[in-house]
């Protein structure tokens, strides 16, 4: 019942008698290499809508290569934006590749005219120190009527927007447990 072709060919083209064309293509592609690219899902960092995006890059970090972002577009599979982006989101690639983009903490010392790079530890220690000093100096536990208010009104906080509900909850607890009054979210800006 089984049918067998004239020659032993493991491919459709070979079995049908197009081995010459197949061989020509094999010879043609031999000097070519495979280019590596990736497409990665993420959310736009700008506002609370958190539109889905696909980041295209050349090179594959997982394979130990260096990857460069070459294109960013709306993620059509994302239920929030279905592939659309606002003008800010559509320009995200320039945000990533911007020469003025901040890559690490910088510090401009009092009286200095330039920013200097500092480590994350230094930056966070300094922020914590300054916050603590300011809170110790200005924290208001009770108002003039003697009512307990626990206010810290001399420092404000602006939180980032591309967050989950859980991050937002933790951020709120952090700010309010310190007594911060001036607290808002980038999402409303």
């Amino acid at each position: 019942m089984k049918l067998a072709g004239a020659g032993v060919a493991a491919t459709s083209m070979g079995a049908l008698g197009f081995s010459e064309a197949e061989a020509a293509e094999i010879a043609h592609v031999r000097p070519f290499k495979l280019a590596t690219t990736t497409e990665t899902r993420n959310t736009c960092p700008y506002c609370s809508v958190a539109c889905g995006i696909i980041i295209y890059s050349k090179g594959d970090v997982r394979k130990g290569e260096k990857a460069d972002v070459i294109h960013i577009e709306g993620d059509v599979d994302h239920p929030t934006n279905r592939g659309t982006l606002c003008p800010k989101g559509a320009a995200l690639k320039d945000f990533v590749t911007s020469p003025t983009r901040l890559h690490y903490p910088m510090h401009r010392k009092p009286g200095s005219d330039k920013f200097e790079r500092v480590s994350w530890d230094e930056a966070l220690d300094r922020i914590a120190r300054l916050m603590k000093d300011d809170r110790d100096a200005n924290f208001l536990a009770k108002n003039e009527k003697g009512l307990e208010v626990n206010r810290w009104s001399t420092v404000g906080m602006l939180a980032a927007s591309a967050t989950t509900n859980e991050t937002a909850w933790a951020t709120f607890k952090f700010a309010k447990s310190l007594g911060m009054v001036g607290f808002d979210n980038q999402a409303r800006v």
């Binding site: 049918l3 072709g5 049908l16 495979l34 279905r82």
Partner: protein, 307 residues
């Protein structure tokens, strides 16, 4: 609003439609356009003789669509039952038992005789034409099982091409809105394997990815950056033939580190002339380069077996 309408529609502002789950084939156009695409690709390809041969095969498919009497649609009750069970409404094993299917195969085999083809192909066609009903049924079974025996790939190509005609005509009569996802990489119309997938630029589905059934040509929506073979979204990467100047390729291999397979992805949104089957064959170079890697091809195309 129809996709091709030029009438302004204010309701389009603000309301971004969800991409349709399934795009049903239009056999009258499908095979004509595919044949034309094969001919265009043959003009500049090393594979010209094969592409011209396939253009001829697809022209016969188109002729058959125009000539054959209307096909009996799938029973409404079966469509409803399949939907309830998340199964494809076209039962391919029942399909190949039907007289309509057998007549389509016979007529196809008669017509392709007139094509110019190498001796090996002509010999295979002669063997298929001389085959008894039992052998033909066995071949049809292999075709709908999406696995072709390596020793008779040429014979099966003819039966597979005839099957595509019948399956596409059946699928065309289904209501795409009534289809439900069956499983990753399984056609919601007929249960067939995809040849690959395309990112399309059609209004209302810009940038959405559709897998293209190798049997009935139904296109169904699959989430992007996801393996079509195992459904994993982890470890997905892309490979393409590197070209000078670093221009972005419009045909890529989507690789999956979870199951070590790859499937072809055509960016039709970047080059609207791309056609799933024709460009799959013409981009054999990518298959040849991918063959040297650890990944194996997941897409099924009866015109391109063995890579």
């Amino acid at each position: 609003m129809s996709v091709s309408s030029l009438q302004p529609d204010p309701s389009m502002i603000g309301g971004i439609s969800k991409a349709l789950f399934a795009l049903m084939p239009n056999p009258a156009r499908l095979f004509k356009e595919r044949a034309t695409r094969f001919e265009v690709l043959a003009e500049t390809s090393n594979l010209a003789p094969y592409l011209k041969f396939l253009a001829g095969i697809v022209r016969v498919q188109a002729d058959l669509v125009a000539e054959l009497p209307p096909v009996q649609p799938v029973d409404a009750e079966q469509v409803a039952r399949a939907r309830d069970g998340a199964m494809p409404p076209i039962d391919r094993s029942a399909m190949i038992q039907s007289d309509e299917y057998r007549k389509t195969v016979q007529l196809f085999l008669d017509r392709v005789q007139d094509l110019e083809m190498p001796a090996a192909a002509a010999e295979a066609l002669e063997a298929v034409r001389a085959a008894d009903d039992e052998t033909l049924a066995w071949m049809a079974g292999n075709v709908i099982g999406d696995t072709l025996p390596v020793e008779s790939l040429a014979h099966h190509l003819f039966v597979a091409a005839a099957t595509q005609v019948h399956a596409a005509r059946l699928a065309a009569l289904l209501d795409g809105n009534a289809l439900v996802p069956v499983s990753v990489g399984v056609c919601p119309s007929c249960g067939g394997k995809p040849a690959g997938s395309m990112v399309i630029g059609v209004q209302g589905a810009e940038g959405a990815r559709y897998a293209c059934c190798s049997c009935c040509a139904t296109m169904w929506n699959e989430v992007r950056v996801k393996c079509l073979a195992c459904g994993s979204t982890k470890g997905i990467g892309y490979r393409s033939v590197e070209v000078d100047g670093g221009e972005e390729a419009v045909i890529k291999a989507e690789i999956c580190d979870s199951c070590n397979s790859w499937s072809k992805l055509l960016y039709q949104n970047k080059n609207p002339t791309l056609e799933m089957i024709a460009d799959d064959v013409a981009s054999l170079g990518l298959d040849l380069l991918m063959k040297e890697t650890d990944y194996r091809r997941a897409g099924f195309d009866p015109f391109l077996i063995g890579y």
